[in-house]
């Protein structure tokens, strides 16, 4: 009897150990797994966290600068759009910052918002400082991408949103998170909070942040070199992509080009790594061209639109749009961003300036404070070789590195979602 019981217990133990050591299961579409495929496809339903379909968050608008006059072509962006969901009773609040070029109601923040809301948090979702609406309505100088300036802008937005809703919502503690560039922003926002102490964030979670912003934008710009014929063939590439998708559409029996259709299209086309890299490059190129054009028009910097040319409400961007589409984030850095900030840091050369925009610049802070945690992937495509080691070295146990997932592809995976919540719950 005793023996049988022992055997049973051993068996149970073995099973539980086996269960805990199950390799991280992250399937993707297409014939083989790659970090590019993971980045593009994201989390498949079979391994995704079980979250309700409905988005609990409502959208709203807020004026950030009382006397701001926006240029004519951006008349609709005078106020900042954001979204929120409140619990009925007092609860901790999570601020979520979106990634490069992404909005408060983009898919990743919505999924994250669902997870935190259903775990009992109030949630507030904020667009990236690189998103057009933020650049126009909430950026002090509308030249985004500066780690410290962006942090100040985000911090101001957070304070304004809190002020607006303070009579309705009771908050016990504040948390901040963000993915990709938003994760990077979250680090500098938390650092700023140490001085300002307006929120006294209990914890920050950085999801797939870059280590060096410059390295990451270089990698992303290089991905558009995968466009057949080079990045200048942007338009032709989009054209051929559209043709490919069209062929699938014509054969399929659906009338809507929805998520389900895109899934099918992906399976049918089964793109290889070069094509996927080109696709990722194109998506970032759309972000960089939007940012560049917006920032240029607001500041009349003469980068793409000559400084004595004023765009009106009805102006067609025409050739300026074609030029903006040819420009990546590194072009912005060298021709606009660095020269713009240079007078503030005359002692720094380009490289030195780029280095101040590194997570490494906050290394001693990360080591001295245990409130910041990281969730990352070993195969993230926005990191240069070896950069991933920065996280375990500096954060120790506070860095959770998954073996797969590419860039933010696994954020909806049940293990990742459980981890995100546990970081803020403990």
């Amino acid at each position: 009897m005793k023996k049988a019981l022992a055997l049973l217990l051993t068996g149970l133990y073995a099973v539980s150990v086996w269960a805990n050591q199950q390799p991280y299961d992250f399937p993707t579409l297409g014939s083989t797994y790659s970090s590019y495929a993971a980045t593009v496809v994201g989390t498949l339903p079979e391994v995704a966290a079980d979250l309700p379909e409905e988005n609990p968050m409502s959208s709203s608008r807020i004026r950030i600068f009382e006397d701001r006059q926006v240029p004519d072509p951006f008349f609709f962006d005078e106020t900042l759009r954001y979204s929120y969901a409140w619990q009925d009773e007092a609860a901790p609040l999570v601020f979520m910052i979106a990634g490069t070029g992404a909005s408060h109601n983009g898919a990743k923040n919505v999924e994250m918002g669902k997870a935190f809301y259903h775990a009992g948090f109030h949630v507030v979702s904020i667009s990236s400082p690189t998103y057009m609406n933020f650049i126009v309505s909430a950026s002090e100088n509308s030249v985004p991408g500066h780690a410290y300036e962006d942090a100040k802008d985000i911090y101001r937005v957070m304070e304004k949103i809190r002020e607006k809703h303070k009579s309705r919502v009771e908050v016990t503690d504040y948390y901040v998170t963000g993915y990709s560039l938003g994760g990077f922003n979250a680090a500098f926002v938390t650092k700023l909070d140490e001085e300002r102490q307006s929120f006294n964030f209990r914890k920050a979670l950085l999801i797939n942040p870059p280590v060096s912003l410059y390295n990451s934008i270089s990698l992303l710009d290089r991905m558009s070199q995968n466009i057949p014929g080079g990045a200048d063939n942007f338009d032709q590439f989009l054209n051929s992509l559209m043709d490919e998708v069209s062929k699938v559409y014509q054969k399929s029996d659906t009338v809507d080009m929805d998520g389900e259709f895109l899934f099918k299209a992906y399976k049918a086309l089964d793109p290889n790594n070069e094509e996927l890299a080109a696709l990722i490059g194109v998506s970032f190129r759309l972000s960089s061209s939007s940012l560049i054009y917006t920032s240029d028009v607001i500041n009349q910097y003469g980068f793409v639109v000559p400084s004595n040319v004023t765009m009106t409400r009805n102006s067609s961007p025409g050739d300026y749009m074609v030029v903006a589409n040819q420009l990546g984030f590194t072009d912005y850095f060298h021709g606009f961003f660095y020269p713009y900030y240079k007078p503030q840091h005359p002692e720094l050369d380009r490289e030195g300036f780029a280095r101040t925009m590194n997570l490494e610049a906050l290394e001693s802070y990360f080591k001295s404070s245990d409130k910041i945690e990281v969730m990352h992937n070993a195969d993230d495509i926005i990191l240069a070789p070896g950069e991933i080691d920065f996280f375990p070295r500096v954060f120790g146990d506070r860095a959770k590195i998954y073996p797969k997932g590419g860039h933010c592809g696994n954020m909806s995976h049940r293990d990742n979602v459980a981890h995100m919540i546990s970081v803020f719950k403990n």
């Binding site: 072509p73 951006f74 609709f76 962006d77 759009r81 070029g101 992404a102 909005s103 667009s127 998103y131 057009m132 609406n133 338009d235 032709q236 989009l238 054209n239 559209m242 069209s246 559409y249 014509q250 029996d253 009338v255 080009m257 759309l286 061209s289 939007s290 054009y293 917006t294 028009v297 910097y301 003469g302 980068f303 793409v304 639109v305 000559p306 400084s307 004595n308 040319v309 004023t310 765009m311 009106t312 409400r313 009805n314 102006s315 067609s316 961007p317 025409g318 050739d319 300026y320 749009m321 074609v322 030029v323 903006a324 040819q326 420009l327 072009d331 021709g335 606009f336």
Partner: protein
């Protein structure tokens, strides 16, 4: 973009809109005699004979279209979306789904006729099957029984019919309320609307009832369209929407 516009159609619309079009220039304002050179100079970087798909869409009425695009944004923000929000707030979800199914069922009528006009007999047959099934088993269309039984759904309108018979898009056209369209599809929309009106007349509907139905149809359509004006995050939204819309129509006609 194709230039084989139906000439009559073109003359008609130019007459109607000529006044608007000439009123709104799409050129930026230049201070001084000539534009300076930008850091990245468009004069050097844009090939004169280059193939730039988004820029090259046929849009001679751009000034009018941009004005109308803005008008639609305001209409959306101050009228339609508040109404849709109110509707969704007071209507329980299952009822909302039922109403959506009901209107989808009515929308099978133009699809049916247009499938016939395009000699697409499988589509006509299936669409008729869907309509009969949903009107009877689906309780006047409130339940989508046809989808449950696996009868494929199609969508055909008179713009597609014209396209099928070789009529080109004509100029891109942003319609008030309805949004992106083309000269051809604007006319198609008019024909489809007349067709529906004829159906309502057959049913001996009073004009108030017909109006109520049309308003509800509009609310339901807006409630089920996720697009929001000026929320793509792109300063080139007008161009992107135009491009995507033209591509999608091209596919719908070929399908």
């Amino acid at each position: 973009m194709s230039n084989n516009t139906n000439t009559l159609m073109r003359i008609f619309l130019v007459l109607v809109m000529g006044t608007f079009v000439s009123a709104c220039s799409t050129n930026p304002r230049v201070d001084g005699d000539v534009a300076d050179k930008a850091y990245y100079d468009a004069g050097k970087l844009v090939a004169k004979d280059g193939d730039y798909m988004v820029k090259d869409d046929y849009d001679p009425w751009e000034g009018f279209n941009r004005t109308m695009y803005r008008f639609n944004y305001h209409l959306d923000r101050y009228v339609l979306l508040p109404v849709v929000d109110g509707y969704q707030f007071i209507t329980p979800d299952p009822v909302e789904t039922g109403i959506h199914n009901f209107f989808n069922n009515i929308r099978e009528i133009p699809t049916f006729f247009n499938s016939v006009f395009q000699l697409e007999f499988t589509k006509s047959y299936q669409t008729a099957g869907r309509f009969v099934t949903n009107t009877t088993v689906g309780l006047l269309g409130f339940l989508d029984a046809a989808t449950y039984f696996g009868i494929p759904k199609h969508k055909e309108d008179f713009g597609q019919t014209l396209g099928y018979w070789g009529v080109g898009n004509g100029p891109y056209l942003v319609l008030p309320l309805f949004g992106p369209s083309s000269a051809r599809d604007g006319i198609g929309l008019g024909v489809d609307t007349l067709m529906m009106s004829a159906v309502y007349n057959e049913l001996d509907m009073k004009s108030e009832e017909e109006l109520a139905l049309m308003v509800m149809n509009g609310i339901d359509t807006r409630a089920n369209t996720s697009f929001r004006y000026y929320e793509t995050g792109s300063p080139f939204e007008y161009e992107l929407v135009r491009e995507l819309w033209l591509q999608k129509r091209k596919l719908d006609i070929e399908k």
